[in-house]
């Protein structure tokens, strides 16, 4: 857990709402994994008092042979939308300004060594960690499909941030009948071709993807007389968790280091901290039926 000041290299507006900040942070870049986040101290003095969490978008470890698009070795990037105090302040930073950064924090994504093909699904703010995830997966030789949903076509992130080997599919909300209909429809079609699925975005989206996974599993169970053997694409997902689907959850945070207990999420293992036990959880763990009655003795131990 590093606490350091890093100089900003560039501050770029990519779309109407999305900004990309690159900063030189070799220590952070060496330690960070996709799905992890940092806590940034913004504003002046005690205004605001607490740090804010930002998913790490891309990180180019100094020891890597190949880094993500648009980054130099030792650099880290974060993607954000100026909205409230700290993000507005952040968008006003200039190259050379220092960022006060605590991290990397959280558990990050883990891809099973047996996975060959992964599906990444991102919505809204959730797109940031998936960009770095795509780069790292491609560098490891995995086949990556990246499905991202944006509010409208003016907000679509350019594909230049992603490795060219990744298959990049985009949906926009203004095309569909209701929010998220089109990204879920597309996800349903792509599920079969993936060994593992990683989702990042609003909780409603995570829950919808989880439901997709469950219905896909039911379809497998009912077609178990298939003479071909186990249906393709679903074997790997049974390792550990029933569906091999993982979500990056977001909760308002206080400390980001697992101490204050503001960011807890109810899961099958009890109340877990989004910042320290997560932010990545198997979707089944959060949305699956709870095993225990609500009893004081069913609470997950705090580490």
């Amino acid at each position: 857990m590093l606490l350091m000041s890093y100089p900003i290299v560039s501050m770029e507006q990519l779309t109407r709402q999305l900004w990309l900040a690159r900063f030189r942070a070799p220590e952070l870049a060496a330690a960070a994994r996709p799905g992890q986040f940092v806590m940034i101290g913004g504003g002046e003095g005690w205004d605001p008092l607490l740090r804010r969490p930002f998913s790490i978008c891309q990180a180019y470890s100094p020891s890597s042979n190949r880094g993500p698009a648009g980054l130099d070795p030792g650099e880290v990037s974060i993607l954000f939308s100026p909205g409230k105090k700290v993000t507005v302040w952040l968008a006003q930073r200039k190259p050379g300004d220092k960022l006060d950064v605590l991290g990397p924090l959280g558990n990050g994504f883990t891809v099973s060594p047996k996975s060959r093909r992964i599906l990444l699904i991102a919505g809204g703010w959730g797109i940031a960690p998936m960009i770095g995830m795509a780069a790292e997966a491609v560098a490891k030789g995995l086949s990556v499909t990246f499905l991202a949903e944006f509010a409208d076509s003016s907000q679509v992130l350019p594909g230049s941030l992603l490795p060219s080997e990744a298959r990049y599919l985009v949906t926009t909300q203004d095309v569909s009948q209701g929010a998220n209909r089109s990204v879920i429809d597309l996800a349903r079609q792509l599920l079969d071709g993936a060994d593992e699925v990683f989702v990042s975005g609003p909780t409603e989206m995570l829950e919808m993807v989880h439901k997709l996974g469950r219905s896909a599993d039911k379809a497998t169970q009912s077609s178990s007389q298939n003479p071909e053997g186990t249906p393709k694409g679903l074997t790997i997902r049974r390792i550990g968790d029933p569906f091999g689907m993982y979500g990056l959850f977001e909760e308002p945070m206080g400390c980001g280091t697992g101490i204050c207990l503001s960011c807890v999420i109810e899961t099958r293992r009890g109340l877990l901290r989004c910042c320290a036990d997560g932010p990545v959880f198997p979707l089944e763990e959060v949305f699956g039926p709870s095993e225990t009655q609500s009893s004081p003795f069913g609470i997950a131990e705090l580490r």
Partner: protein, 312 residues
Amino acid sequence: MNLAVELAPRNRRRLLLKNPVMVASGTFGYGTELAEAVDLSRLGAIVCKGTTRYPRTGNPKPRLAETPAGLLNSIGLQNIGVWGVIKEKAPIWATWDVPVIVNVAGETVEEFAEIAGLLDDVAGVAGLELNISCPNVSRGLDFGIDPELAAAVTTAVKKATSLPVIVKLTPNVADIAAIARAVEAAGADAISLINTLLGMTIDIRRRRPVLGSLSGGLSGPAVRPIAVRMVYQVAQAVEVPVIGIGGITSTEDAIEFLMAGATAIQVGTANFINPRVSLDVVEGLEGFMAKENIEEVQELIGAAVGPKAKPS
């Protein structure tokens, strides 16, 4: 240069800290969470998360709201319970080079005593801090606002254990010195203050309080002047060591409390911003003493105030 302070001079088990810098309950977990990131052996002491008889899930979210130079919390004492502490945490603490004090929160006087009794001879537990008034528990826990109730809890706990007992006072009272005198008379080895101040913030767009529990406890730099004033009042009123808590974010803040009469201090909310801030305070205190040619930290304690008023 000597920074050591004794927190329980009246107790044969003693509670000697290598320096006056402690970390406050609820802001450092059980110490285990940050053991790799922070050199715990540099700290004077750790006070762990408030511990109840049975595990608690805590209050509905949102549990945290930022306020000017402060924060409101209504975590609601989510914790693993006293048996969780005994089985999982104390054995680890026993291997450390820093005393760990268990903060205890009971719903009745008997429960306080029961928890204290269970912790009495547990290796790794160096002392108890009694949370006699946590604003975030719905059944009140208002022992701290009444001198007799506060004394009753103290007496019961002192009967149940020989561990050093620190009583943590709430500032949500009209006369904190009266509470302090009552718990001292009941046998408290030391007194710590302040716990959080009751507060509320409202979301004007949603037209409702931000916190799931409506109100919560205010902490952070905003409360410091109240805390310093109360530490001064209590240190004037009692003989036992006083531990100052309230918005400490730097060495200078810590020294303010020492000079007001505190024997030791606790860093709390600041840990959320920088988990290593307490180490910075220790280092800063050493630097300050070196620069000012101060040999004993005792010279700083009460240095800004006159001799104590006679006890009434």
